[in-house]
């Protein structure tokens, strides 16, 4: 049984068809890529899987439980977490709070604990804080723990978002252009981080990438989409040589 299975997913924005008949199967621990030109519908697919949009048609099964119609926080609590293409950090909060807070669904001390500070709350929070700190340590940003995120350099902010996404111990991690806006050096570092997360924490990863190099190097298999439709699926080598992918990226040669 695959971890995540998406069947015939279609989504319309009004009259615009953003995603059409999309199929996906991911097994535990896989590292998959999703590529396509601008506006192809890659981020929309992420938004559909994480419940931010509801698909017009189709089903999304996480370990054979249907995710369609659930709230984003329910889906996240079931183990699907993501990062965003344009950073979506909480601008008034510290790095540590970001990571700690992503463990929201793991805390069960309830309202009495929140109002009065019970022993149970302190125990659960201490545990959560320990895990958050370890995670920051792993990504090498623990010395920024008490900084407000908006004061940090871009590369670090990216890592914070990554740390926040894995803090809730997801089974499936969706990364939306993790290297967007980075220089080559930062890009290599981020690729290392992604590999590290996969090896040490073991979630399956689905990755949107704009840069072919990153996708080709990281991913085991890649899907290419264009105008919301799946045009190719295969190993990086196959995708690189697939004529439809080349057409989509470079434009079709006019035959005169």
């Amino acid at each position: 049984m695959p971890l995540l299975q998406v069947n015939n997913m279609t989504h319309y924005f009004g009259g615009l068809r953003a995603v059409y008949n999309y199929q996906l199967e991911i097994d535990k621990g896989q590292l998959r890529g999703l590529i396509g030109p601008n506006g192809a519908g890659k981020t929309t697919i992420f938004n559909l899987i994480t419940g931010i949009y509801q698909p017009t048609e189709g089903e999304i099964l996480l370990e054979s439980k249907n995710l369609v119609g659930l709230q984003p926080y329910d889906i996240a609590a079931m183990g699907v977490c993501r990062t965003f293409q344009n950073l979506r950090l909480w601008r008034h909060m510290t790095v540590f709070d970001h990571v700690r807070l992503a463990r929201y669904s793991k805390l069960h001390y309830g309202l009495i604990g929140a109002f009065l500070g019970t022993a149970r709350r302190h125990r659960e929070e201490a545990e959560s804080e320990k895990m958050a700190y370890e995670l920051l340590e792993m990504l090498g940003i623990s010395h920024y723990a008490d900084e407000i995120v908006t004061n940090l350099p871009y590369g670090v902010q990216r890592k914070v978002e990554m740390a926040r996404a894995v803090a809730s111990e997801p089974n499936l991690l969706l990364l939306d252009e993790p290297t967007a806006g980075m220089n080559p050096e930062e890009m290599l570092e981020m690729m290392g981080v992604i590999r590290q997360i996969r090896d040490e924490l073991g979630p399956a990863i689905l990755l949107i990438e704009h840069r072919m190099k990153v996708a080709m190097e990281l991913c085991e298999t890649i899907q290419a989409i264009d105008f919301g439709e799946l045009i190719a699926e295969g190993t990086p080598e196959e995708i690189r040589n697939n004529p439809r992918v080349i057409d989509a990226y470079l434009g079709k040669e006019e035959v005169t």
């Binding site: 994480t50 419940g51 931010i52 709230q71 984003p72 926080y73 889906i75 996240a76 609590a77 977490c81 993501r82 965003f84 979506r88 950090l89 909480w90 601008r91 008034h92 909060m93 709070d97 700690r100 807070l101 992503a102 463990r103 929201y104 669904s105 805390l107 001390y109 309202l111 604990g113 929140a114 109002f115 009065l116 500070g117 709350r121 929070e125 959560s128 926040r164 996404a165 803090a167 809730s168």
Partner: protein, 440 residues
Amino acid sequence: MEVRGSTVQPAEAIARNTLLVKVRSQLAQIPLLGWLFGTLTAMAIEQVAGRLLARALGLSGVPGLFGLRIMLTKPALIPSAVAYVLLVYALPTLIVARLSAPLANRLAKLLLDRFPLWVSLVVHLGLLYATLHLWGGTSAYRMLFLSFIFISIILTLSLNLVNGYMGEFSCSHPGFMAMGAYVASILTVLFFVQDDVFGAPLLPPALGPFLFPLALIGGGLVAAVGALLVAIPSFRTRGDYLAIISLAFLFIVKSVIENLEIIGGPRGLMNQPKWANLPTVFAWTAICVWTIYNFTRSTIGKAACAVRDDETAAGTMTINTRRTKMVTFLFAAFWAGVAGGLFAHVMGYINPGTFDVKKLSEVLAMVYLGGLNSVVGSIAGAFGIQLLMEVLRPLELFKWIVIPVLLIVLMILRPTGLIAFTEVNVEDLLKPRQKLEKGR
């Protein structure tokens, strides 16, 4: 009560042997406990010698509010008023605080090390209360002033939860306050007072003061139910909906009360027993500040901040956004209701005119003056505005020009308020200072 951050290093003090540095390093050794000893002594001095000293300085009596009003109305007496404040409040506080610092430091350390946090907290609160009791005990005017400050603190803090921590804009706080005030009043009048409308008391009035907290909680809970009615339609989407719906709710509550003859309509409701004396109001304020402080540091309180900063991101990070918003809003409304109940039993009379847009602007001013997202900020804001309104009372109509102008100036100088986005850790506040740490 001040919050002191990192203190001046001894080496630096020797290098720059200026008066200011000396004074600062002296003051930095004083823990909160020492300051409380100081203020307590000052109040005791006022109790014993205040009247005598005031006469000797040519003042007609003990100045009500630190001589501030005397300074405004009779400028010729400014030197006397300043001298009084210095001699009675400032100097004794400073001297006693500094002299008792070694002892206070040891005591503060002992309290924190040997006992759980709450013991230390209770000791500090007890001393604070003793100070206020001595100060307020000298006149009914001061007593009322203190009670209003505490009620304002509850209101401001709870509104800050919604407008600051959660980042929505709620206008219905006076409405929740009115609901709390009326429900608590009806409960106490119905059960414990011989009244023309509600008839003979249902329970022996002697029980009243003991069951009074239940009436307040009842008022708070009804206010929370009111908040639920506002929350259900307005939390479906973000944006200005809450502001509009909550403003409408405020008007609805007011006109419903005005048209209910049984609770007095526009004439108001009276006969409430004045059970909300200073210790009661102080205790409720302490509980309110403590629970809200806890809440803002809890995961669900932080989640409210996350919802404010980016709701989509919060949702995809497992935060139950709807529950977070509901809990925060209802919790805030509960405290507004309790504040209303206290207000009714301080005054012994309420009418719907009190809970109008003017009240709203007052509370909003307190929140935004003090600073969003800060428990200390809200306390400072409530105290600041309340003090301003009292001090500027001799200006009569001009008060309503001076206060808004001051607010505008403040908004230009400090757009986020005096103390915004600042968290103070209670343990840091109570802990012993420098001297002892050096010896360790």
